[in-house]
Assembly symmetry: C2
Homo-oligomer: 378 residues x 2
């Protein structure tokens, strides 16, 4: 049986099943808040798109031309000059396409440690070898990357430089410049996964790696700023690679849903997505603040945590020799949940870590959840 | 650069660009007729689905439970007892998932020759070796499969047993039984790709291979009976394999569009898809008849063609030493088009073959197109 069949199902997904009981206040998810979706705007966009029977037909693999132009001009306006993108079935598909196109069995992929679980699954499925790069409060550590490069020939470096999953941390501008230089000197691709970048609650934006390095493949998504159920992502890459990825996508699913793409194009034409994102930032920022404010009286002394400027996650490390997976079982008896940190590590897990998401609970729910959590942790 | 990047883009897609001028009567496509889509029914289904914000959220990889139940009961009612399916982003994705899960580089896949182009691309992308099995008017020839099995250890046999692409032919019941026996004896998987099976214009249905062999992975699709733009397919397989394919799909795109799935479930609940398919069969049957009736005075003596009981395609072979790709250029100057047959062959192309689709033109357009084609071929 093929190697892929030995890749375990995501532990996060298995846990989500346990934490979805309505009486549980769950900080375990990585979901946007459904009550903040622009349901009416999107419903109207679908209805408008479905006036034309061509939205039900097969369509080009590259994606809906109007949507590609709208996404490209939006990226350009936000500081990343973009002439074209490939529309993907969520940015998870973009990641899978990149892995298929660029990784042979035995190829080496470096990842920030800890990192996004489903990226690890993608890379493992190609038979690539994943090597970790250390990170700290400023994101991936270029010194650690240099020492990896001293012994490894990298095909790719994968990272979420802005409001990372699971840490919530942002890679500093100076480190971005260092990584861009290393990519150019050593000839590896940088995969800049940026689903959270627009969800900034304080501070100034940091320019994307893709704006300073032409060795960068930039992945964006409608999932956190629009709605994940539509499964719409986009990929920006140098033109030769973009063309090659279109061929890989053709074999993967021919093209992304014509209906969802047309609805997204209608939505972007007739709605102010920036204003919607601003509303999200107000709500999510208040939720972030509620969680951070409660932490000092929730966790034991000696606990450390990230202090994210945006995104969805706080990353914590408990003092002493504890296993957060064991603590989760106890937390569930108190009807509160988080995600143990171990699965986010490519190699040596730190069992004292865990991830908390603040997006799907109101500040009041967060306060109540933190009271419950204090009973478990303190 | 990775092997996938050397896989050429589908020649059919490149040709479609040439044949899409409005003055061309094109028999080149493989598309359903857009004027026959149930636009109103589907538009209402989307609008109903979008009353609930949960259709915009992330969802389980396996697919919408209501849709899975509706598809399973429909398959069961049509003679294929089915307890569950995996919903895929079109049946092209199902094919890609199966290839990823079951094919290592160097694995051997047998395909009916000629066969579906994008399946060949999928298999080539995994690094598998594709070996052809001969076919005739009754579909894949079990004798040819036996001689392949004498020298090759097959991982998989891929075929479109009912109204095949590109030939339009249907595998006989007795041959299905022979293939099921060979699969069991030699331990290979049969991938039964069945996008056209419901489009039968005459004769009685032949039971699917999956109903007589538990070594069969059955792929179905909403694309030809509903609308391809929604990118909805389904995969039926033994439960262990189905579970493994869920993990592969999770890495591929997390899940298929929640919106499209919910709309399809609404549509199936409130509309009579069987009645819609019956209408399609009346229309497509008349188009088939128009093409077959015109062929004797369109093609030169000595030409052979398939006489399909359903589906979308007629497959032809011209007499003498001709190259249908050259004839296509001439045909385009007469504003008519078809698809040259060579790309549908895994190994040794027969350049005298070509494929004609009868679904997207009315009988009157087909008659006019055949008059133009006669000037090129006779």
């Amino acid at each position: 049986m093929h190697r892929t069949l030995s890749v375990a199902s995501s532990p996060v997904r298995d846990l989500l099943a346990l934490t979805s009981r309505p009486e549980v206040i769950s900080f375990a998810g990585g979901l946007p808040a459904p009550e903040l979706f622009d349901l009416d705007g999107l419903r109207t966009a679908y209805d408008t798109a479905l006036r034309d029977q061509s939205v039900l037909q097969y369509a080009p693999t590259e994606g809906n031309p109007a949507l590609r132009a709208l996404v490209s001009s939006r990226l350009t306006r936000r500081g990343l000059p973009t002439s074209d993108v490939l529309i993907t079935t969520g940015s998870q598909q973009a990641l899978a396409l990149v892995a298929t196109a660029l990784l042979e069995p035995g190829a080496v992929v470096a990842v920030e440690e800890p990192t996004y679980l489903a990226a690890l699954q993608c890379f493992q499925m190609t038979g690539a070898r994943v090597v970790p790069v250390a990170s700290d409060a400023d994101g991936l550590d270029p010194e650690s990357l240099r020492s990896v490069l001293a012994t490894e020939k990298l095909s790719m470096l994968y990272l979420v430089p802005t409001f990372a999953n699971p840490t919530g941390r942002t890679l500093s501008a100076s480190r971005r410049a260092e990584i861009a230089e290393l990519a150019s000197a050593h000839g590896f691709w940088v995969v800049e996964d940026d689903p959270y970048g627009e969800l900034r609650y304080r501070g100034a934006a940091v320019a994307p790696l893709a704006s300073i390095s032409d060795r960068t493949i930039y992945l964006g998504s409608f999932s956190k700023i629009g709605a994940p159920g539509m499964r719409l992502g986009w990929l920006r890459a140098p033109v030769d690679l973009l063309r090659a990825l279109v061929i890989v996508k053709q074999a993967a699913d021919l093209h992304t849903s014509t209906v969802d793409q047309a609805a997204a194009a209608e939505y972007l034409k007739h709605n102010d997505l920036d204003a919607h994102v601003a509303r999200l930032c107000v709500e999510y920022g208040a939720r972030r603040d509620a969680m951070i404010a409660a932490l000092p009286h929730t966790v034991p002394d000696g606990t450390t945590w990230s202090d994210p400027d945006g995104g969805m996650f706080v990353w914590l490390r408990l003092p002493g020799d504890v296993d957060s997976a064991e603590l989760l079982k106890k937390a569930l008896t108190h009807e509160v949940a988080f995600v143990p940190g171990a699965p986010f590590f490519a190699t040596s897990p730190d069992h004292a870590t865990f991830r908390m998401s603040f997006t799907t609970n109101t500040p009041a729910e967060i306060e109540e959840g933190m009271v419950r959590l204090a009973k478990v942790l303190r």
